[in-house]
Subunit: 409 residues, 2 copies
C-alpha cells in the first residue's frame, strides 16, 4: 500500500496537504479532470502536462465495457495505455449503475447510448426502461453500447480497477437517488457496507490506495452511521458520494456531518462535484480532491470560465462564446491568463471555431477551462498556506465569516 | 510583390527549390495541409509547427461565408487570426462554386450543408438543385450554411483573398466537370481567361503572390491554349487546376501538356491532389506544391498511413484502425516513426479511441498522417538533391525509368 496523505496545514476543517501515490504527488486541495474513456476529451497527455494537471479520474464502467480492463492490463495498465504518467483515480462503477438505473427513472445522471427497444442514441429518459437490477450479489445492468447484460459486483469492480491499475481506486457502492426515501436509502446503505467489506476482502496486495465511499443520502443519522462503520475499516482514503441532497445547502450539511469525523492522515475525495461554489465549500469543509466533467463539457459547449466581476459572467462563472457580442472581439478570453489559448487566440477566433463546429474549438476551450480551474486551486492552496482562504473565497461570493482562522460553519 | 521561387536543382522536369514568401520559406516540393475554416482540423498551430508543416491552404469560399473576410482583415489577417506565422495559400473559391454546381449535378466534389428545399444536413446529391449560376459577371451561388444568395466575381475573390491576407492567392476561375463536353469546357476556358485578366486588374499592391490557374479539362489543345495565354500575364506562380481527367493517366497527360512549358522561375501548385501516387507523379512532372484534405480526413476516419510493404496496407497506403486485428496490438502504427503518436501510443489505444469516437483519435491520427506525408516530401527533396528520385519512387510502386537522371516520360 503506497498511497499516503501528508497534512501540511489545517485551519478549521480546510486542509493543505499532499497525496503521495505510486505515480507522484498531488498537491491538495486539487481538481482532477475527468478522462472517462482513458482520455481527457480533446486533449493530448502532453497538453495535460503543460496545463500542470496533477491527476485525472477515469471510469471503471466505461473502460470495463470498452475496450475492456483485461486489454488495458495486457497493455501495461491505464497509465501506459493512455500515456499518462501522473496519478490516476478510477471510480468503482457504482455511480454509472445508478445512472442507468434509479438515476434514469428519476431523470438524473443519464448516460447516452443505445438502449434496448429503442433505436435512438440519446433517448428521453421517460421512455426508457430501468436498465439495472440491484441484488445482494451486485448490480446487473445492460450496456449502453449494445444492450448486452453484465454483472458488476464488489469483487469484479475491485478486480477491474486492479487491472486498470489506477493509483486511487474506489469501493463499489450503491449510489442512491436524491429522490429515494429514507427506508430505501438505509437498506442501500447497509448493503453498501456489506459490499465495502467484500471490496476489502477481494483486493489484492497492490500499491493502489483503496477509498471507502461514504453514502447515506441527506439523512444525518445515516451519514453518521456510515462514518462510524467506515472508520473501522482499513481504507487508504475516503470519498463522499451518493446523494448529496437536493440543494447546495443539503450538500454542505452532508459534508459537515461526515468530513470532520475523518482521520487527519487520509485523503478525502468529493465525487463528481466541481462548480466553483462546490470547490470553495468543499475545501472549507475539509475535502482534498474533486473531479467533474464541467470544465471540459462546458468547453465543448462554448462556455469558458471568466473571473468574478467580469461583465456578462453567468451564474456558473462562464461566458458563452456563441454570443454575438464576441463576433469581432480581438481580445483573449482573459487578458492576464497564462494558458495557450489566451496567449494566442482572440474571442473572435474562438467564436468562429465554435460556430464552424471545429474540433480545435473544443481543444482550445478545454485548455482554458482546465487552466482556469487549476490556477484557482493553486490560489486556494496558497491562500490556505497563508491563512487567507476566506478572503479568496469572498472574491467568488462565499462568505465563510470574517478574517483568518475562522472554523467551519 | 514579394513572392519568389528559387530553383535549386532540376532533373528532367522534377525540381528541388524554395518558395520565398512574406512569412518565410517553403522548401519544395512540399505538401500543404488543408485548413479550410482557418484551422487544420483537430490540430493546434503549435502541433503543426512541431510537425514541421511549412504552409497550409485555407478556403476563400468557406471563410467568406463564415466568419467573413472583413472580420478576418479586422483581426489582422488570417495569419494572426489563426495564430499561424508560416506561409498560407488561399484558393479562389472557384472550385467550391464548381462543387456546389456542376460538381453536385455530376455527383463529384460535394460540400455538405443545409440546402434550400431540404432539411437534411448532408443530403443525397441527386435530390439537390444545382445551387450555382455562372455568368460573365461571376458565379452566383447559394450558401451551403443558410441558403443565402451570393455573387463571387474575379474582383470579389481577389478582394476577399486580399482581406484574408494569405501569402499565395489564386485567380478566380471556372472549374469544369470532367463530364463536361469539349464545347462547354472551351467556352468556360475562354471565360476563365477573361476572368484572369480581371483578377490581375483588380489586385492591389500587396506582397501576396497571385497564381494563374491553368484550366482546359483533359483536352490537349485547350491546355496548350491556356498555357500560351497564361504565360503572357504577370503571375507570380501557376496552379494546375480544374478537371484533371477521369483517370490518373489523363491527369499525367494534362501535367505533361502544361508544366514543361511553365517558366523555371515561378512556383507551380497542383490543386487538391495528394495521394501518394499523385505526389510522385506530380513531382516527376515538375509540380512544387500540393494540397489535399486526404491526410486529415483519412485520420478522422481511422485510416493511417503505413510504408510500402507493410502487411495489410490498402491500395491507398493505409491501415484501417477499426480493424479487429489491432484490438490488442501493443505497438505503434510505425516502429521507426518519429511522430508524437507513434512515440507514445499503441495501435490498441488508437483503435480504442476511434471505437469510442474520442476527439483525441482524430488529433493523434492527423498528427501521424501529416508527419508521414511531410517526411515523405522530405525524402523526395533529398532524393532530388541526390539524383535518386526514381529509386525512391520505385519503393512506392512508381517506375520512372532506370537509374539516375532519367528525364520525364
Amino acid at each position: 500500500m503506497s498511497l499516503s496523505y501528508e497534512l501540511l496545514h489545517k485551519r478549521g476543517q480546510a486542509r493543505r496537504g499532499r497525496i503521495h501515490t505510486p505515480h507522484g504527488i498531488i498537491e491538495t486541495p486539487e481538481f482532477l479532470p475527468v478522462g472517462t474513456q482513458a482520455t481527457v476529451k480533446a486533449l493530448t497527455p502532453e497538453q495535460l502536462e503543460q496545463l500542470n494537471v496533477q491527476g485525472v479520474l477515469a471510469n471503471t464502467y466505461h473502460l470495463y465495457l470498452r475496450p475492456g480492463s483485461q486489454l488495458v492490463e495486457k497493455m501495461g495498465g491505464l497509465h501506459r495505455f493512455m500515456n499518462w504518467n501522473r496519478p490516476i483515480m478510477t471510480d468503482s462503477g457504482g455511480f454509472q449503475a445508478f445512472s442507468l438505473g434509479a438515476g434514469r427513472e428519476h431523470g438524473v445522471g443519464k448516460i447516452g447510448g443505445v438502449f434496448p427497444g429503442t433505436s435512438a442514441k440519446k433517448p428521453r429518459a421517460s421512455v426508457l426502461p430501468n436498465m439495472v437490477k440491484i441484488s445482494e450479489e451486485g448490480v446487473r445492468f445492460r450496456s449502453h453500447l449494445d444492450g448486452s447484460s453484465h454483472l458488476l459486483t464488489p469483487e469484479s469492480s475491485i478486480r477491474i480497477q486492479e487491472e486498470l491499475g489506477a493509483d486511487m481506486i474506489l469501493a463499489f457502492d450503491e449510489c442512491t437517488s436524491p429522490l429515494a426515501d429514507k427506508a430505501y436509502t438505509e437498506k442501500a446503505l447497509e448493503r453498501t457496507h456489506r459490499w465495502a467489506l467484500r471490496c476489502l476482502e477481494a483486493r489484492r496486495d497492490t500499491p493502489q490506495g483503496l477509498y471507502g465511499i461514504l453514502q447515506g443520502g441527506a439523512y444525518q443519522d445515516l451519514r453518521e452511521r456510515t462514518l462510524d462503520f467506515m472508520l473501522r475499516q482499513p481504507w487508504q482514503g475516503f470519498a463522499v458520494g451518493g446523494s448529496l441532497g437536493k440543494t447546495k445547502e443539503e450538500m454542505h450539511q452532508v459534508l459537515d456531518w461526515t468530513v470532520p469525523g475523518l482521520p487527519d492522515d487520509k485523503p478525502r475525495h468529493l465525487l463528481g462535484i466541481g462548480e466553483f461554489s462546490d470547490l470553495f465549500e468543499g475545501v472549507w469543509r475539509g475535502i482534498d480532491t474533486f473531479d467533474c466533467v464541467i470544465p471540459t463539457r462546458f468547453a465543448r459547449n462554448g462556455h469558458v470560465f471568466v473571473p468574478p466581476g467580469t461583465p456578462g459572467r453567468s451564474p456558473r462563472g462562464t461566458w458563452n462564446l456563441l454570443n454575438a457580442r464576441f463576433f469581432d472581439l480581438d481580445e483573449p478570453i482573459q487578458k492576464n491568463c497564462g494558458c495557450y489559448t489566451c496567449k494566442h487566440f482572440s474571442l473572435a477566433y474562438l467564436r468562429h471555431l465554435h460556430k464552424a463546429e471545429e474540433i480545435l474549438a473544443y481543444t482550445l476551450c478545454s485548455m482554458h477551462n482546465i487552466h482556469f480551474l487549476l490556477a484557482l486551486m493553486g490560489e486556494i492552496r496558497q491562500a490556505l498556506e497563508q491563512d487567507r482562504f476566506p478572503e479568496l473565497a469572498r472574491l467568488y461570493g462565499h462568505n465563510f465569516g470574517a478574517g483568518q482562522g475562522a472554523g467551519p460553519l
